[in-house]
Amino acid sequence: MYDRQREFRFAWKCPLWFCFAGLVGLLVWTGAAYAAPDSARQQVVYHISDGDPDRQRSALRNVANHLNILGDDGADIVVVLQGDGVTLLLRPDAQPQLPGGLSANATGEVRIGIEDLRLRGVRFEVCAHSLARRGIDDDRYLLDVDPADLVPSGIDELVRLQRAGYTYIKP
């Protein structure tokens, strides 16, 4: 534990390491990465396309309840934000960019709720196309979105996940 470097050199020489990494790559390719290692694990995709803060809040509450029932490790939950739903992850400083009638909703309690769900393993994916359509062209307006979670098209992503075995829920 105290000599990581030595451990690493060992790992580097070990052929098993190669095999393991190779296997991981192979899994990624075959899409098996989506296969739940444990068949009891539910795969669910939530679709949020509504910009109304109250509706978004209630959607988050649905997700949290879902996790409460299944346990944090019992479900693999992805939330796809598309259409007006992208406002859920917009910081308040995005407000001037937004067209009328929309609000940047990643504030206060909602923000805490999002961060909490993230800690519990929920992934939030944002539709880049929907963002651009609403005048948001910079990810600095987003609440800590990993570039990998900024998907070009939310619809495509919803289709892809369902084809990979995810159950679709529109709260």
Binding site: Y2, D54, R57, A64, E109, I112, G113, L119, R120
Partner: protein
């Protein structure tokens, strides 16, 4: 909004807040860990592992007011079970001190710090832990007892023996208690 504030995400707002507080306690834990082992890498590992465990079982914390005690308890258990075999190397790593502005005082102070650390390093683990928890981390006797999972009486007797031993060791090094404490300069 019809939902009363704070209930929207039920316990999860609390969980998130606690997780933040846990991470905020990092420096404090590191200071304690380093005083136990005198090795920055080991201390960092110990803190890292403590935080990881705490984050993963934050829901088992009943009383939020006891967060620091709970964290230190986790760390003490880890130290006992996995890290204790590593003896502190006294006298190392004293260079990295931040000194005072006055060079002379700075030298005095780093000498004092080095000697104090060396003396503490010579104590047995039990005495050192009690002493650091009470004096450095400023835990009460009761909290120290629950952190180390020993009776309060044991904390008291270990503490008094530890202090007696510290004074002996410091006197051997020629540090009389009375004359070495640098006076705090007026701000």
């Amino acid at each position: 909004m019809t939902t009363p504030k704070g209930t929207l995400f039920g316990n999860f707002g609390r969980k998130r807040r606690l997780q933040r507080e846990i991470c905020a306690g990092r420096d404090r834990l590191y200071r304690i860990a380093w005083s136990w082992c005198h090795d920055s890498d080991i201390a960092d590992d110990l803190v890292q592992e403590t935080l990881a465990r705490a984050l993963s079982k934050v829901e088992t914390l009943r009383d939020e007011a006891r967060l620091q005690v709970w964290l230190t308890q986790i760390m003490a258990n880890l130290y006992r079970d996995q890290f204790r075999r590593v003896r502190p190397e006294t006298g190392l790593e004293v260079d990295a001190l931040t000194g005072a502005d006055d060079p002379e005082q700075s030298v005095n102070r780093s000498q004092l710090v080095a000697r104090t650390r060396e003396a503490l390093g010579r104590l047995g683990d039990d005495q050192r832990q009690v002493l650091t928890l009470v004096d450095i981390a400023e835990f009460s006797y009761a909290d120290t007892a629950s952190i180390l999972d020993v009776p309060v009486g044991t904390v008291m007797s270990r503490l008094s023996r530890a202090r007696r031993r510290m004074r002996e060791l410091l006197e051997q090094q020629g540090i009389g208690c009375a004359d070495v404490i640098p006076l705090r300069r007026p701000q």
